[in-house]
């Protein structure tokens, strides 16, 4: 079936508008990151300027380096992701397989935690971490991120596990694999797409998180989102440096996105089209 010219044109038009809306800020930041602070403030904004790598130099290796913060972010996000997956995979598998009473209600609870406004939890979390002396620490940060990422990861993974017919595991049991190897050799390889998606989402959520990072972090653990925020100060805002830092922070996100595009799109649609083929 051939689409009419008008339909194609309007589709392209709409796609173009959205693409512009989404990419414009990124492109603007990219442009700004190569400007000197003076050029940034030029009014009207100019597209023609002498590009400089100074911002990147400062942001990466200068006095305002964000390298330690990138490392902090990476450590927190990695801890969070690894712990989340270690706990979420068995939990999701159990939820998918066992006929636990209250499974539905539990599923709803998991979703509900995703709907709470995080701001409401900051003070209790702050007091809690303070009490146990985990403020401004990697373990404290990871623990708090886990409370969000774990329910989300479980919820996402359950649908992947549910897609695998029980008979396939039973076949493995009869083929003398035993429960553990039936899981490792037959179930796990089939949900690797789902695991990849979940890893990416969990990692990016932790990487991009700002609110908890700024309140519960400090001098020891200052994540890159917080460090970027510090370019905005009372006296002045260093827009060009901020832009360079933003680009540096976004780079792994975009790379990861491009790399795992196929998985992500499938992950987003898996709930919508259940049973639409695993392969």
């Amino acid at each position: 079936m051939k689409r009419s010219g008008i339909a194609t044109a309007s589709l392209l038009g709409v796609a173009g508008v959205f693409l512009t809306l989404w990419t414009f800020p990124v492109l603007w930041a990219l442009l700004t990151s190569f400007k000197s602070e003076r050029d940034v403030l030029a009014y009207p904004p100019t597209l023609i300027f002498t590009p400089t790598l100074g911002n990147y130099r400062d942001v990466l290796f200068g006095a305002t380096t964000i390298l330690p913060n990138l490392i902090s972010s990476f450590v927190v996000a990695t801890f969070t992701t690894v712990l989340t997956m270690l706990l979420a995979i068995p939990a999701a598998y159990a939820l998918a397989r066992l006929n636990l009473p209250g499974k539905r209600a539990g599923g709803f609870y998991i979703l509900a935690t995703q709907m709470l406004p995080p701001v409401g939890l900051i003070i209790p979390y702050f007091l809690f971490l303070q009490k146990i002396g985990w403020l401004d620490s990697y373990k404290g940060m990871t623990l708090i991120y886990l409370t969000f990422s774990l329910p989300f990861a479980i919820w996402l993974l359950v649908s992947y596990f549910e897609d695998i017919p029980r008979e396939m595991e039973e076949a493995a049991l009869i083929d003398r694999a035993g429960r553990m190897r039936a899981f490792l050799y037959v179930v796990l390889p089939q949900v690797r797409g789902g695991i990849a998606v979940t890893v990416i989402f969990v990692f990016l959520n932790a990487w991009n998180e700002f609110l908890f990072a700024v309140v519960l972090g400090g001098n020891n653990v200052r994540q890159v989102t917080v460090a970027m925020f510090n370019f905005i100060s009372v006296e002045q805002t260093l827009w060009a440096k901020l832009a360079a830092a933003a680009i540096v922070t976004m780079a792994p996100v975009i790379l990861l996105g491009l790399f795992a595009q196929r998985h992500i799109v499938k992950g987003l649609t898996v709930g919508a089209v259940k049973g639409g083929g695993r392969r």
Partner: protein, 351 residues
């Protein structure tokens, strides 16, 4: 060691308040091709899964060669199974699928390769070893599942409706091959099917399941000739046996105002269900008058729907019958081919 005698003793299976199996007793001989036959929902799969160890019996015991395996893990029972859905591992190619059961017991690679080749050859899929299950047709997937089952020499094959997902032509072909394969391997096989014709043609013996109970065990021919209840009679044979409410006295069966002769002799007068196979109904110059409602020509035979007092009686006759639809004819039955069942218990009364 590989004998393969299976005994089920008083197996009960409950799902909450619902009882799926009401005390199954069954003995299967070594090397036998044994069918579990019955309508859908009668408990065949449940029975097979209990033998496999995939499901626990609520009561009763399972024996394999006089070892009590009731609580043995599936992997330790030395059985192989083909699932209705085949349950192939989609991320492994055919070779890896077939090799899986041997890999799990750490067999040396060389031996595995040889065994895979051998099994694949027996089911004619040697040329497909490097494909993924998703790239196979239904029939090829079925063979792959079969190869995975025969690759090790188990004591027992369990097959759950293995042909039901194949188209009619392939089902017939595969049925024959399966039978030959089983003969050559000599491994005890339990075969679940709801298709009576399949069970009749393939099995050495069969058990007929109804509502979670075994109503009859025997060779297909014996069960066909001597159905234990009216329901078994109705289930086995196509088209099914005519079951006619009647009364019996002195070798005569009264159906309304009409009479049929039978060679059965049972004591006294009683209400019965007279069972007559369509192929035993005779159309002739005398007998019970009936009207022909419908004639279906099967090529080598005719299938007549006769109506008698609101009842439909089916007859399978030779093509020499020249009557037409709407005409009245007389029918009778071969007196030696009339089955009698009790009108209340529906249990067979003649022998």
């Amino acid at each position: 060691m590989s004998n393969g005698r299976v005994s089920l003793k008083k197996i009960v299976k409950r799902h909450g308040a619902f009882t799926a199996l009401h005390g199954i007793d069954l003995d299967i001989e070594p090397g036998e091709f044994f069918a579990l036959l019955g309508p859908s929902g009668s408990g065949k799969t449940t029975t097979l899964r209990i033998v496999a160890g995939l499901e626990e019996a609520s009561e009763g015991r399972v024996f394999l060669d006089s070892t009590d395996i009731t609580n043995t893990e599936p992997g330790d029972r030395d059985v192989a199974m083909v699932f209705q859905s085949y349950a192939l591992y989609p991320h492994m190619n055919v070779r890896q699928n077939i090799a899986f059961p041997m890999r799990m017991v750490g067999m040396p690679k060389g031996e595995i390769d040889a065994a895979v080749q051998d099994a694949a050859k027996k089911v004619h899929i040697e040329h497909l070893l490097d494909r993924k299950p998703g790239q196979l047709s239904g029939g090829q997937q079925q063979r792959c599942a079969l190869a995975r089952a025969i690759v090790r020499k188990p004591r027992l094959f369990l097959l759950d409706e293995p042909l039901s997902n194949l188209d009619a032509k392939l089902r017939l072909e595969t049925r024959g091959e399966l039978k030959k394969l089983q003969r050559s391997l000599g491994v005890t096989t339990i075969y679940v099917t709801h298709d009576q014709e399949e069970a009749m043609t393939i099995a050495d013996r069969m058990a007929v399941f109804m509502d979670g109970q075994i109503v009859q065990v025997g060779s297909p021919k014996f069960v066909f000739d001597n159905p234990a209840t009216a329901d078994v009679a109705n289930f086995i044979g196509s088209p099914p046996m005519n079951l006619i409410p009647a009364s019996y006295a002195d070798g005569r069966i009264r159906i309304g105002a009409h009479e049929l002769q039978t060679s059965c002799r049972v004591g006294g007068e009683r209400n019965v269900i007279a069972g007559i196979r369509p192929s035993s109904v005779r159309i002739g110059p005398s007998g019970i008058p009936a009207r022909i409602d419908l004639i279906e020509n099967l090529g080598d035979a005719l299938l007549l729907d006769l109506s008698l007092d609101q009842m439909t009686i089916r007859a399978r006759t030779g093509t020499e019958v020249t009557s037409r639809e709407g005409e009245s004819v007389f029918f009778s039955a071969d007196p030696t081919a009339v089955h009698l069942f009790d009108a209340v218990t529906r249990v067979r009364i003649n022998d």
